[in-house]
Point group: C2
Chain length 176, copies 2
DNA sequence: TATTGTTATACTCTATAACTATA
DNA sequence: TATAGTTATAGAGTATAACAATA
Protein backbone atom coordinates (compact mmCIF):
# COMPACT_ATOMS: atom_id res chain seq x y z
CA UNK A 1 0.00 0.00 0.00
CA UNK A 2 1.98 2.99 -1.21
CA UNK A 3 1.29 6.51 -2.44
CA UNK A 4 -0.43 8.11 0.52
CA UNK A 5 -2.29 11.06 -0.87
CA UNK A 6 -3.16 14.25 1.07
CA UNK A 7 -6.79 13.79 1.86
CA UNK A 8 -7.71 10.81 -0.22
CA UNK A 9 -11.44 11.07 0.05
CA UNK A 10 -11.66 8.26 -2.39
CA UNK A 11 -9.74 5.94 -0.20
CA UNK A 12 -12.17 5.89 2.67
CA UNK A 13 -14.72 3.95 0.72
CA UNK A 14 -12.64 0.95 1.46
CA UNK A 15 -12.75 1.52 5.19
CA UNK A 16 -16.28 2.69 5.63
CA UNK A 17 -17.88 -0.69 5.75
CA UNK A 18 -16.65 -4.14 5.37
CA UNK A 19 -16.93 -7.70 6.34
CA UNK A 20 -19.40 -7.84 9.16
CA UNK A 21 -20.56 -11.02 10.78
CA UNK A 22 -17.48 -12.92 9.84
CA UNK A 23 -18.55 -15.98 11.75
CA UNK A 24 -21.45 -14.95 13.95
CA UNK A 25 -24.75 -13.46 12.85
CA UNK A 26 -23.69 -10.00 11.72
CA UNK A 27 -25.01 -10.24 8.17
CA UNK A 28 -27.68 -7.64 7.60
CA UNK A 29 -29.26 -6.65 4.34
CA UNK A 30 -28.23 -3.47 2.59
CA UNK A 31 -30.64 -0.61 2.94
CA UNK A 32 -33.59 -0.56 0.62
CA UNK A 33 -33.85 1.49 -2.50
CA UNK A 34 -31.41 1.94 -5.33
CA UNK A 35 -27.88 0.89 -4.51
CA UNK A 36 -24.88 3.12 -4.17
CA UNK A 37 -22.56 2.97 -7.13
CA UNK A 38 -19.94 5.12 -5.43
CA UNK A 39 -17.08 6.24 -7.59
CA UNK A 40 -18.14 3.84 -10.32
CA UNK A 41 -20.39 6.66 -11.57
CA UNK A 42 -17.31 8.80 -12.14
CA UNK A 43 -15.59 6.22 -14.29
CA UNK A 44 -15.96 7.13 -17.94
CA UNK A 45 -15.78 3.49 -18.97
CA UNK A 46 -18.75 2.53 -16.86
CA UNK A 47 -20.90 5.44 -17.95
CA UNK A 48 -20.03 5.01 -21.63
CA UNK A 49 -20.69 1.27 -21.40
CA UNK A 50 -24.12 1.69 -19.84
CA UNK A 51 -25.08 4.26 -22.46
CA UNK A 52 -23.80 2.04 -25.24
CA UNK A 53 -25.81 -0.92 -23.99
CA UNK A 54 -28.99 1.16 -23.78
CA UNK A 55 -28.48 2.60 -27.25
CA UNK A 56 -27.67 -0.75 -28.88
CA UNK A 57 -30.64 -2.38 -27.20
CA UNK A 58 -32.92 0.19 -28.77
CA UNK A 59 -31.16 -0.02 -32.13
CA UNK A 60 -31.45 -3.80 -32.24
CA UNK A 61 -35.12 -3.68 -31.32
CA UNK A 62 -35.77 -1.00 -33.93
CA UNK A 63 -33.97 -2.92 -36.68
CA UNK A 64 -35.31 -6.33 -35.75
CA UNK A 65 -38.10 -6.17 -38.38
CA UNK A 66 -35.46 -5.90 -41.10
CA UNK A 67 -33.06 -8.27 -39.36
CA UNK A 68 -30.05 -5.97 -39.35
CA UNK A 69 -27.51 -5.86 -36.55
CA UNK A 70 -25.39 -2.81 -35.74
CA UNK A 71 -22.25 -4.24 -37.33
CA UNK A 72 -24.14 -5.22 -40.49
CA UNK A 73 -25.55 -1.73 -40.79
CA UNK A 74 -22.12 -0.17 -40.41
CA UNK A 75 -20.66 -2.51 -43.02
CA UNK A 76 -23.38 -1.67 -45.54
CA UNK A 77 -22.87 2.05 -45.03
CA UNK A 78 -19.12 1.86 -45.50
CA UNK A 79 -19.44 -0.26 -48.64
CA UNK A 80 -22.02 2.18 -49.96
CA UNK A 81 -19.70 5.10 -49.29
CA UNK A 82 -16.63 3.38 -50.72
CA UNK A 83 -17.69 1.10 -53.55
CA UNK A 84 -14.95 -1.25 -54.61
CA UNK A 85 -13.11 -1.25 -51.31
CA UNK A 86 -11.45 -4.44 -50.13
CA UNK A 87 -12.37 -6.53 -47.14
CA UNK A 88 -9.13 -5.60 -45.43
CA UNK A 89 -9.84 -1.88 -45.88
CA UNK A 90 -13.37 -2.35 -44.62
CA UNK A 91 -12.11 -4.16 -41.57
CA UNK A 92 -9.58 -1.44 -40.81
CA UNK A 93 -12.20 1.30 -41.13
CA UNK A 94 -14.58 -0.38 -38.71
CA UNK A 95 -12.08 -2.15 -36.46
CA UNK A 96 -13.42 -5.54 -37.48
CA UNK A 97 -10.91 -8.35 -37.86
CA UNK A 98 -10.63 -9.70 -41.42
CA UNK A 99 -11.46 -13.17 -40.18
CA UNK A 100 -14.69 -11.94 -38.63
CA UNK A 101 -15.75 -10.13 -41.78
CA UNK A 102 -15.90 -13.31 -43.81
CA UNK A 103 -19.08 -14.61 -42.21
CA UNK A 104 -20.75 -11.22 -42.26
CA UNK A 105 -20.07 -10.76 -45.96
CA UNK A 106 -21.23 -14.28 -46.72
CA UNK A 107 -24.51 -13.41 -45.05
CA UNK A 108 -24.86 -10.07 -46.84
CA UNK A 109 -24.17 -11.77 -50.17
CA UNK A 110 -26.65 -14.52 -49.38
CA UNK A 111 -29.28 -11.82 -48.82
CA UNK A 112 -28.29 -10.12 -52.07
CA UNK A 113 -27.39 -6.88 -50.29
CA UNK A 114 -23.71 -6.82 -51.19
CA UNK A 115 -21.38 -8.52 -53.65
CA UNK A 116 -17.76 -9.56 -53.80
CA UNK A 117 -16.19 -8.93 -57.21
CA UNK A 118 -12.79 -10.24 -58.20
CA UNK A 119 -10.39 -7.32 -58.26
CA UNK A 120 -8.55 -6.99 -61.57
CA UNK A 121 -5.65 -5.05 -60.10
CA UNK A 122 -4.89 -7.31 -57.14
CA UNK A 123 -6.01 -10.86 -57.56
CA UNK A 124 -5.74 -11.58 -53.85
CA UNK A 125 -8.49 -9.19 -52.94
CA UNK A 126 -12.19 -8.70 -53.52
CA UNK A 127 -13.84 -5.43 -54.43
CA UNK A 128 -17.04 -4.92 -52.45
CA UNK A 129 -20.22 -3.33 -53.78
CA UNK A 130 -23.81 -2.94 -52.76
CA UNK A 131 -26.31 -4.55 -55.10
CA UNK A 132 -29.22 -2.54 -56.43
CA UNK A 133 -31.31 -4.27 -53.80
CA UNK A 134 -28.69 -3.42 -51.24
CA UNK A 135 -28.89 0.27 -52.04
CA UNK A 136 -32.67 0.26 -51.81
CA UNK A 137 -32.67 -1.68 -48.58
CA UNK A 138 -29.94 0.46 -47.06
CA UNK A 139 -32.09 3.52 -47.64
CA UNK A 140 -34.87 1.76 -45.80
CA UNK A 141 -32.53 0.71 -43.00
CA UNK A 142 -31.36 4.30 -42.75
CA UNK A 143 -34.90 5.58 -42.35
CA UNK A 144 -35.50 3.06 -39.56
CA UNK A 145 -32.16 3.91 -37.96
CA UNK A 146 -33.13 7.57 -37.90
CA UNK A 147 -36.22 6.68 -35.86
CA UNK A 148 -33.92 4.99 -33.40
CA UNK A 149 -31.53 7.92 -33.50
CA UNK A 150 -34.29 10.33 -32.64
CA UNK A 151 -35.31 8.21 -29.67
CA UNK A 152 -31.74 7.74 -28.48
CA UNK A 153 -31.06 11.46 -28.51
CA UNK A 154 -34.44 12.75 -27.39
CA UNK A 155 -32.89 13.89 -24.09
CA UNK A 156 -30.44 16.12 -25.96
CA UNK A 157 -30.89 19.24 -28.00
CA UNK A 158 -28.97 19.42 -31.28
CA UNK A 159 -26.08 21.37 -29.77
CA UNK A 160 -25.76 18.85 -26.96
CA UNK A 161 -25.72 15.97 -29.38
CA UNK A 162 -22.95 17.66 -31.35
CA UNK A 163 -20.95 18.23 -28.18
CA UNK A 164 -21.45 14.64 -27.06
CA UNK A 165 -20.26 13.21 -30.35
CA UNK A 166 -17.28 15.51 -30.47
CA UNK A 167 -16.15 14.70 -26.94
CA UNK A 168 -16.49 10.97 -27.61
CA UNK A 169 -14.48 11.24 -30.80
CA UNK A 170 -11.76 13.12 -28.94
CA UNK A 171 -11.63 10.43 -26.27
CA UNK A 172 -11.46 7.61 -28.79
CA UNK A 173 -8.83 9.37 -30.91
CA UNK A 174 -6.65 10.09 -27.89
CA UNK A 175 -6.54 6.39 -27.03
CA UNK A 176 -5.72 5.06 -30.48
CA UNK B 1 -15.07 17.11 -37.51
CA UNK B 2 -18.13 17.93 -39.57
CA UNK B 3 -15.69 19.56 -41.96
CA UNK B 4 -17.79 20.90 -44.78
CA UNK B 5 -15.60 20.08 -47.68
CA UNK B 6 -15.54 22.27 -50.77
CA UNK B 7 -17.21 19.63 -52.83
CA UNK B 8 -19.64 18.25 -50.22
CA UNK B 9 -18.72 14.66 -50.63
CA UNK B 10 -21.21 13.61 -48.00
CA UNK B 11 -24.39 14.11 -49.94
CA UNK B 12 -23.64 12.25 -53.08
CA UNK B 13 -23.08 8.84 -51.59
CA UNK B 14 -26.31 7.10 -52.51
CA UNK B 15 -25.98 7.93 -56.15
CA UNK B 16 -22.28 8.14 -56.58
CA UNK B 17 -21.47 4.61 -57.28
CA UNK B 18 -23.19 1.32 -57.24
CA UNK B 19 -22.99 -2.08 -58.67
CA UNK B 20 -20.54 -1.74 -61.47
CA UNK B 21 -19.28 -4.54 -63.59
CA UNK B 22 -22.30 -6.70 -62.97
CA UNK B 23 -20.97 -9.16 -65.44
CA UNK B 24 -18.16 -7.36 -67.22
CA UNK B 25 -15.03 -5.86 -65.77
CA UNK B 26 -16.18 -2.61 -64.15
CA UNK B 27 -14.78 -3.34 -60.69
CA UNK B 28 -12.19 -0.81 -59.65
CA UNK B 29 -10.67 -0.29 -56.24
CA UNK B 30 -11.79 2.49 -53.94
CA UNK B 31 -9.50 5.49 -53.74
CA UNK B 32 -6.61 5.33 -51.36
CA UNK B 33 -6.49 6.87 -47.93
CA UNK B 34 -8.95 6.66 -45.03
CA UNK B 35 -12.40 5.54 -46.02
CA UNK B 36 -15.57 7.57 -45.90
CA UNK B 37 -17.85 6.67 -43.02
CA UNK B 38 -20.63 8.91 -44.29
CA UNK B 39 -23.57 9.35 -41.97
CA UNK B 40 -22.28 6.56 -39.76
CA UNK B 41 -20.25 9.23 -37.97
CA UNK B 42 -23.47 10.98 -37.01
CA UNK B 43 -24.99 7.91 -35.42
CA UNK B 44 -24.66 8.13 -31.67
CA UNK B 45 -24.56 4.35 -31.36
CA UNK B 46 -21.52 4.04 -33.59
CA UNK B 47 -19.59 6.85 -31.93
CA UNK B 48 -20.41 5.65 -28.42
CA UNK B 49 -19.45 2.10 -29.36
CA UNK B 50 -16.09 3.07 -30.78
CA UNK B 51 -15.31 5.16 -27.71
CA UNK B 52 -16.39 2.35 -25.41
CA UNK B 53 -14.16 -0.15 -27.19
CA UNK B 54 -11.16 2.16 -26.99
CA UNK B 55 -11.76 2.85 -23.30
CA UNK B 56 -12.27 -0.79 -22.37
CA UNK B 57 -9.21 -1.84 -24.30
CA UNK B 58 -7.13 0.57 -22.26
CA UNK B 59 -8.84 -0.43 -19.00
CA UNK B 60 -8.25 -4.12 -19.62
CA UNK B 61 -4.61 -3.55 -20.46
CA UNK B 62 -4.15 -1.37 -17.39
CA UNK B 63 -5.78 -3.91 -15.08
CA UNK B 64 -4.16 -6.97 -16.64
CA UNK B 65 -1.38 -7.09 -14.01
CA UNK B 66 -4.02 -7.56 -11.29
CA UNK B 67 -6.24 -9.74 -13.48
CA UNK B 68 -9.42 -7.72 -13.07
CA UNK B 69 -11.97 -7.26 -15.83
CA UNK B 70 -14.34 -4.30 -16.04
CA UNK B 71 -17.34 -6.26 -14.79
CA UNK B 72 -15.38 -7.66 -11.87
CA UNK B 73 -14.23 -4.21 -10.89
CA UNK B 74 -17.77 -2.86 -10.99
CA UNK B 75 -19.04 -5.77 -8.89
CA UNK B 76 -16.37 -5.23 -6.24
CA UNK B 77 -17.18 -1.54 -6.02
CA UNK B 78 -20.90 -2.10 -5.63
CA UNK B 79 -20.39 -4.76 -2.97
CA UNK B 80 -17.99 -2.42 -1.17
CA UNK B 81 -20.53 0.37 -1.28
CA UNK B 82 -23.45 -1.80 -0.25
CA UNK B 83 -22.24 -4.51 2.09
CA UNK B 84 -24.79 -7.22 2.66
CA UNK B 85 -26.63 -6.73 -0.60
CA UNK B 86 -28.03 -9.74 -2.39
CA UNK B 87 -26.95 -11.14 -5.74
CA UNK B 88 -30.26 -10.15 -7.26
CA UNK B 89 -29.87 -6.55 -6.10
CA UNK B 90 -26.31 -6.49 -7.37
CA UNK B 91 -27.43 -7.77 -10.74
CA UNK B 92 -30.16 -5.17 -10.98
CA UNK B 93 -27.77 -2.35 -10.11
CA UNK B 94 -25.27 -3.35 -12.78
CA UNK B 95 -27.63 -4.83 -15.37
CA UNK B 96 -26.00 -8.23 -15.02
CA UNK B 97 -28.27 -11.26 -15.21
CA UNK B 98 -28.43 -13.28 -12.01
CA UNK B 99 -27.29 -16.35 -13.88
CA UNK B 100 -24.19 -14.60 -15.10
CA UNK B 101 -23.29 -13.35 -11.64
CA UNK B 102 -22.87 -16.85 -10.28
CA UNK B 103 -19.62 -17.55 -12.05
CA UNK B 104 -18.24 -14.12 -11.34
CA UNK B 105 -18.94 -14.44 -7.61
CA UNK B 106 -17.50 -17.95 -7.54
CA UNK B 107 -14.31 -16.53 -8.97
CA UNK B 108 -14.22 -13.58 -6.55
CA UNK B 109 -14.77 -15.95 -3.63
CA UNK B 110 -12.08 -18.28 -4.92
CA UNK B 111 -9.69 -15.33 -4.93
CA UNK B 112 -10.80 -14.38 -1.42
CA UNK B 113 -11.94 -10.94 -2.53
CA UNK B 114 -15.62 -11.34 -1.68
CA UNK B 115 -17.79 -13.65 0.38
CA UNK B 116 -21.33 -14.97 0.29
CA UNK B 117 -22.94 -15.14 3.74
CA UNK B 118 -26.22 -16.88 4.41
CA UNK B 119 -28.85 -14.24 4.99
CA UNK B 120 -30.70 -14.71 8.29
CA UNK B 121 -33.78 -12.80 7.17
CA UNK B 122 -34.36 -14.51 3.82
CA UNK B 123 -32.90 -17.96 3.57
CA UNK B 124 -33.12 -17.95 -0.21
CA UNK B 125 -30.59 -15.18 -0.60
CA UNK B 126 -26.96 -14.53 0.10
CA UNK B 127 -25.56 -11.37 1.65
CA UNK B 128 -22.42 -10.24 -0.14
CA UNK B 129 -19.36 -8.69 1.49
CA UNK B 130 -15.83 -7.84 0.62
CA UNK B 131 -13.20 -9.67 2.61
CA UNK B 132 -10.43 -7.73 4.32
CA UNK B 133 -8.23 -8.77 1.43
CA UNK B 134 -10.93 -7.64 -0.97
CA UNK B 135 -10.99 -4.17 0.56
CA UNK B 136 -7.23 -3.85 0.36
CA UNK B 137 -7.10 -5.13 -3.18
CA UNK B 138 -9.99 -2.93 -4.28
CA UNK B 139 -8.07 0.12 -3.10
CA UNK B 140 -5.19 -1.05 -5.22
CA UNK B 141 -7.46 -1.71 -8.19
CA UNK B 142 -8.89 1.75 -7.76
CA UNK B 143 -5.46 3.37 -7.89
CA UNK B 144 -4.72 1.49 -11.09
CA UNK B 145 -8.11 2.37 -12.53
CA UNK B 146 -7.42 6.05 -11.86
CA UNK B 147 -4.30 5.80 -14.01
CA UNK B 148 -6.49 4.44 -16.78
CA UNK B 149 -9.10 7.11 -16.13
CA UNK B 150 -6.52 9.84 -16.48
CA UNK B 151 -5.38 8.42 -19.79
CA UNK B 152 -8.91 7.91 -21.09
CA UNK B 153 -9.86 11.49 -20.33
CA UNK B 154 -6.62 13.22 -21.17
CA UNK B 155 -8.28 14.84 -24.19
CA UNK B 156 -10.87 16.48 -21.95
CA UNK B 157 -10.65 19.19 -19.35
CA UNK B 158 -12.56 18.59 -16.09
CA UNK B 159 -15.59 20.56 -17.24
CA UNK B 160 -15.73 18.61 -20.48
CA UNK B 161 -15.54 15.33 -18.64
CA UNK B 162 -18.43 16.37 -16.42
CA UNK B 163 -20.48 17.39 -19.44
CA UNK B 164 -19.71 14.15 -21.22
CA UNK B 165 -20.75 12.00 -18.27
CA UNK B 166 -23.90 14.02 -17.74
CA UNK B 167 -25.00 13.80 -21.37
CA UNK B 168 -24.37 10.06 -21.42
CA UNK B 169 -26.37 9.55 -18.26
CA UNK B 170 -29.24 11.53 -19.74
CA UNK B 171 -29.17 9.42 -22.89
CA UNK B 172 -29.10 6.15 -20.96
CA UNK B 173 -31.86 7.25 -18.57
CA UNK B 174 -34.10 8.38 -21.39
CA UNK B 175 -33.94 4.92 -22.95
CA UNK B 176 -34.64 2.87 -19.83
C1' DT C 1 8.62 -11.32 -47.09
C1' DA C 2 4.18 -9.26 -46.64
C1' DT C 3 -0.75 -9.11 -47.56
C1' DT C 4 -5.64 -10.95 -48.75
C1' DG C 5 -9.14 -13.87 -47.85
C1' DT C 6 -10.26 -17.94 -45.57
C1' DT C 7 -10.85 -21.76 -42.08
C1' DA C 8 -10.77 -23.37 -37.62
C1' DT C 9 -10.93 -22.44 -33.02
C1' DA C 10 -11.34 -20.48 -28.48
C1' DC C 11 -12.69 -17.29 -25.18
C1' DT C 12 -15.71 -13.77 -23.32
C1' DC C 13 -20.20 -11.81 -22.78
C1' DT C 14 -24.84 -12.20 -22.86
C1' DA C 15 -29.50 -14.44 -22.86
C1' DT C 16 -32.98 -18.06 -21.69
C1' DA C 17 -35.06 -21.98 -19.71
C1' DA C 18 -35.52 -25.00 -16.03
C1' DC C 19 -34.64 -26.60 -11.45
C1' DT C 20 -34.56 -26.10 -5.89
C1' DA C 21 -35.54 -23.93 -1.96
C1' DT C 22 -37.58 -20.74 0.00
C1' DA C 23 -41.05 -16.68 0.60
C1' DT D 1 -47.43 -17.64 -7.11
C1' DA D 2 -43.30 -15.22 -7.03
C1' DT D 3 -38.41 -14.71 -5.98
C1' DA D 4 -33.17 -16.08 -5.12
C1' DG D 5 -29.61 -18.70 -6.52
C1' DT D 6 -28.03 -22.17 -9.51
C1' DT D 7 -27.15 -25.10 -13.66
C1' DA D 8 -26.92 -25.87 -18.37
C1' DT D 9 -26.77 -24.14 -22.72
C1' DA D 10 -26.87 -21.33 -26.76
C1' DG D 11 -25.74 -17.32 -29.24
C1' DA D 12 -23.25 -13.26 -30.26
C1' DG D 13 -18.83 -10.84 -30.59
C1' DT D 14 -14.08 -10.95 -30.62
C1' DA D 15 -9.27 -12.86 -30.86
C1' DT D 16 -5.37 -15.74 -32.77
C1' DA D 17 -2.97 -19.04 -35.64
C1' DA D 18 -2.34 -21.16 -39.86
C1' DC D 19 -2.95 -21.86 -44.74
C1' DA D 20 -3.13 -20.89 -50.09
C1' DA D 21 -2.83 -17.51 -53.44
C1' DT D 22 -0.79 -13.49 -54.75
C1' DA D 23 1.96 -9.24 -54.37
Amino acid sequence: MSGVSPRSIERQHARRNGEEGAGAGGARPARRGPLQLGYLSEHIGYVVRRAQLAIFKDFIKTMAPVDIRPAQYSVLIVIGENPGLTQAALGRALAIKRANLVGMLNELERRKLARRVASPSDRRSHALFLTATGRQMLARFHRLALEHEKRATRALDPAEKRVLLELLVRVARSLD
